[in-house]
């Protein structure tokens, strides 16, 4: 009834003969609806050759849908996707996943339980002659340090091993782009760290471009050249981790990459005044209420008299640091800071703010999309 192989013209697997093929990915104005839910709303992204991009967002923000669209497992309602210089989706065309040259690693690895580890890795090498396929698969397996498990079944692997097999399997056909869907979230904290490092090393060495979907900001920072921050189906900001950390364009972006202390302020004259003291007013900021987002490192404690005075309410031991709860006039909730262990309840301290890690946004609810600075 059906021929064994798809009869659509099979594109050459990316880099089948050129290990470090220059390739990238372009996603342009992609929209995907599920019934009434707008899962992806006009999303555009691009990935340079060999670049590693993290897509960061809470669950349900559309990041997995984005991966499925890129992989060809789902069809967008509008927009275009190109792998390298080849359009694979958009304007009436939808290339099936098997010919896109895109690799995908699944959250729970999706190893085929009825095939051995080696057969799993070989699975994507059907286009190679048998002996060659076997050699490549064994090589890949050795690369992730699992040559000795070649004949095991996936059910007998530990979580870390399964992850590495999945990586080897995804990389074996030398995809132009590797998509990773929360690939480390099922690992325990200890394993996660070094598996992540190993994975990164493999990608870097082979120069494979990758998109990592994650909800863990630390992971995104550690892994990616750039981070695309997603919220409710939209890309809110896409920048290098440093820039995203240092120059968030919205309170949402500010919150995404690290702890934030948020306080209200007023922009008047050349200053923004807050309960914790004044900050320089950004040039473009209009008069009126603003929201100030402070990284913890933007708050400096000093002796009483310097800056705003605060009283230590309580302290708790937290390893290298001491966690302090401070009461400040004009602020209802205590201010919680981690500082070197020097203060005691009842002490009074002075607070002043460092403008470099303080981000000021006009208070226009929902405010997320208004960029200041």
């Amino acid at each position: 009834m059906f021929p064994r192989r798809p009869t659509v013209k099979a594109a050459p697997r990316a880099g089948a003969d050129a290990p470090n093929a220059v390739s990238g990915l372009d996603v342009a104005k992609v929209t995907r609806r599920f019934g009434r839910t707008l899962a992806l709303d006009d999303v555009s992204l691009s990935l340079g050759p060999g670049e590693i991009l993290a897509v960061l967002g809470a669950s349900g923000c559309g990041k997995s849908t984005l991966l499925r669209l890129i992989a060809g497992l789902d069809v967008a309602d509008s927009g275009e996707i190109a792998v390298g210089d080849r359009r694979v989706a958009g304007r009436g065309c939808h290339e099936p996943p098997e010919t896109r040259g895109v690799g995908l690693m699944f959250q729970d690895y999706a190893l085929f339980p009825h095939l051995t580890v080696l057969a799993n890795v070989r699975f994507g090498l059907a286009h190679l002659p048998g002996a060659e396929a076997r050699r490549v698969a064994e090589e890949r397996l050795a690369q992730v340090g699992l040559a000795h498990r070649a004949d095991s079944y996936p059910g007998t692997l530990s979580g870390g091993e399964a992850q590495r097999v999945a990586l080897a399997r995804a990389l074996a056909p030398r995809p132009r782009v590797l998509l990773l869907d929360e690939p480390f979230s099922n690992l325990d904290a200890g394993t996660r760290e070094h598996v992540r490092a190993d994975t990164l090393a493999v990608l870097r060495r082979d120069g494979i471009g990758a998109i990592l979907v994650t909800h863990d900001s630390a992971e995104a920072i550690a892994f990616a050249d750039r981070i695309a921050l997603m919220h409710r189906g939209r890309v809110v900001q896409c920048d290098s981790p440093e820039r995203l950390y240092d120059a968030p364009r919205s309170p949402f972006a500010a919150r995404a990459l690290g702890d934030i202390i948020e306080i209200p302020g007023q922009a008047v004259d050349g200053l923004v005044t807050t309960a914790l003291g004044p900050l320089p007013r950004p040039a473009s900021m209009p008069d009126g209420a603003v929201r100030v987002c402070l990284r913890p490192e933007a708050i400096r404690l000093g002796p009483v008299g310097e800056g705003v005075t605060a009283t230590v309410l309580g302290r708790a031991f937290a390893g290298a640091h001491l966690r302090l709860d401070l009461v400040v006039a004009g602020r209802d909730a205590p201010l919680r800071l981690h500082v070197p262990p020097e203060a005691a309840p009842g002490d009074r301290v002075g607070i002043h703010l460092l403008p470099a890690r303080a981000y000021i946004f006009a208070e226009t609810p929902p405010g997320e999309r208004i960029s200041t600075i």
Binding site: F2, D108, F123, R169
Partner: protein
């Protein structure tokens, strides 16, 4: 935006359309027959027939439904949640009634329960009574009698899927429930039963369609169901249009009820994977409790199988002593196995393709094809067979016109019979394959696609091997059903072909069904092989999946 149409997918759509046409053809053909008649039958039906027929049919279905759910789920829980000596044997034996045609059980039971039968004769002997008049017991030939009989024969349809579900889930459930201080029976009522709802609904649906479409047992026991009315209209009045009208109205009701059930169930299907075998958590019973459990579990086997089969065996033994085995029995057995094997193969392949349509061609096409696949089981066998006559004839004349055929190649050949079997029992293999495929996490086939395999290649290399145990269990069930199938076989088989069930029916129809006892037992034996395989397979599959997924 559609996926770029490849030649393979184009072929797939053509195949799906052809299959849909085949699945719908009996209904369309019946519709054409129905439209030849006017509505003059309905005032008569409404005045004299429907009030009684609908009431009796509803009572029959309600009674059989309650009985099969009670027996099927109770037995499934008993063998999943407890361990006692004889449990494994019981586990297998509980499926045995599947192999018994209902009308044969009805005959056997009347022999046994009749005032002249061994039970009442023995009872009168014990009580010292001379005449049956002194011991008036309720007659089996009644609605309650029919309900009891069908319930005890049909409960395996519920037992089988429910047991499979419990085997996968019982371990975790029992442990969780035990942590919360609930005993096995409370766990059964509050947790297991609601959880097993999809399986119970599936099995009960099959059992009720069997009950509704049954005509042999019901007619013999004097129960006037709607189906019996279809036959009276058709056979006694030569009113095929009228009969087709009643049959179509019934079919519409069945389809609507199935749809409602699906709707009420929402998206809940067989979810989750096995992680724990029930064995680890089974509660060990000892002493009188073990005896009681065994007795409780053995009761449905005794009533649904041992008593009638034992009676048949006794009769067969008396016959063989008297006349020897009928000569034709060997060829009938061979025919039965041959047809059942070929038809099962076809039914499994088509069933698998239908169940895979959502993956191959998309969810909407899949849903429609899967619904259409259920039609053949939702109507009485003879009605299906009559509905197929027209389409098969059309096929024949089509082939004749283009010069491929010079004689009949559809009608009156084994091919027609195989097609009819496939249409009748497609829902069995589709259901099993569907369940098997649904248990595979979506990421698994997705991974294969991304690794360069087409949809079809993914189906054959990944989904099929993983769903195999479920597919095979559907195949075995279909095999048993086909081996004992009667009405379709009777109407559509070629010249000179007798199967065990047509032979048995031939004897039964002339009032000498005991002469067919050997054939009836052979049907049971042929049915036993797959039933035994089914159990072994189920156990292995559950263990293996637990280890791998």
């Amino acid at each position: 935006m559609r996926e770029t149409m490849s030649a393979a997918r184009g072929l797939g759509w053509v195949g799906a359309a052809a299959l849909a046409a085949l699945l719908l053809s009996p209904v369309i053909s019946l519709g054409l027959s129905a439209s030849e008649g006017g509505g003059e039958l309905w005032p008569h039906l409404a005045a004299y027939v429907l009030p009684q027929a609908i009431r009796d049919t509803a009572l029959l279905l309600a009674g059989v439904g309650l009985l099969v759910i009670g027996l099927g789920t109770g037995a499934a829980w008993l063998v999943s949640a407890f361990d006692f000596p004889g449990r494994r044997l019981l586990d297998a034996a509980l499926l045995l009634p599947l192999a018994m045609p209902t009308y044969v059980v009805a005959y056997a039971y009347l022999d046994l329960m009749h005032p002249l039968g061994p039970l009442q004769t023995g009872l009168r002997g014990l009580l010292g009574l001379a005449s049956p008049r002194d011991l008036p017991l309720p007659d089996l030939r009644s609605l309650p009698g029919c309900i009891g009989l069908l319930g005890f024969v049909l409960y395996p349809y519920v037992y089988l899927p429910t047991r499979a579900l419990f085997l996968m889930r019982a371990g975790t459930l029992l442990e969780a429930a035990r942590m919360l201080g609930a005993g096995p029976w409370r766990t059964f009522l509050r947790v297991a039963l609601p959880l097993a709802r999809p399986a119970v609904a599936l099995g009960t649906g099959l059992a009720l369609m069997e009950a509704l479409n049954d005509v042999g047992a019901a007619e013999f026991l004097g129960v006037r169901t709607l189906t019996v009315q279809v036959y009276a209209t058709w056979v006694n009045r030569s009113d095929l249009p009228g009969a087709a009208q009643i049959a179509l109205v019934m079919l519409t009701c069945v389809v609507a009820l199935v749809g409602l059930e699906r709707l009420a169930r929402g998206g809940r299907g067989y979810a989750g994977n096995a992680r724990r075998d029930a064995a680890s958590a089974r509660r060990r019973l000892n002493g009188w409790r073990a005896g009681a459990a065994l007795a409780l579990g053995a009761a449905p086997v005794a009533f649904g199988f041992l008593l009638p089969a034992g009676h048949l065996a006794f009769e067969a033994w008396r016959r063989i002593g008297g006349h020897g085995l009928p000569d034709a029995l060997a060829s009938q057995t061979l025919n039965t196995i041959l047809y059942a094997s070929v038809a099962t193969g076809v039914t499994v392949v088509i069933g698998l393709l239908v169940a895979a349509t959502p993956y191959l061609l998309g969810a909407r096409a899949g849903r429609m094809l899967i619904r259409a696949a259920g039609l053949g089981y939702a109507m009485p066998g003879t009605v299906l067979a009559v509905g197929l006559l027209g389409p098969l004839a059309l096929l024949d004349s089509g082939l004749f016109e283009v010069g491929i055929a010079t004689a009949l190649v559809g009608l009156g050949t084994g091919g027609a019979l195989v097609i009819a079997y496939a249409l009748r029992f497609l829902t069995v293999t589709v259901g099993a394959s569907e369940a098997g495929l649904a248990r595979i996490p979506r990421a698994i086939p997705d991974a294969a696609r991304v690794l360069g395999r087409s949809r079809l290649a993914t189906l054959t290399t990944i989904q099929l091997p993983l769903a195999w145990p479920a597919v095979l269990s559907g195949a075995l069930l279909a095999f048993v059903d086909i081996a004992k199938e009667l009405p379709v076989t009777l109407l559509l088989r070629p010249l000179n072909v007798e199967t065990l069930s047509t032979h048995l029916y031939g004897e039964a129809a002339r009032g000498t069904y005991e002469d067919g006892a050997a054939a009836a037992l052979l049907i049971v034996v042929i049915g036993l092989v797959p039933v035994t395989l089914l159990l072994r397979l189920d156990r292995d599959a559950v263990l293996r999946r637990g280890e791998r997924l």
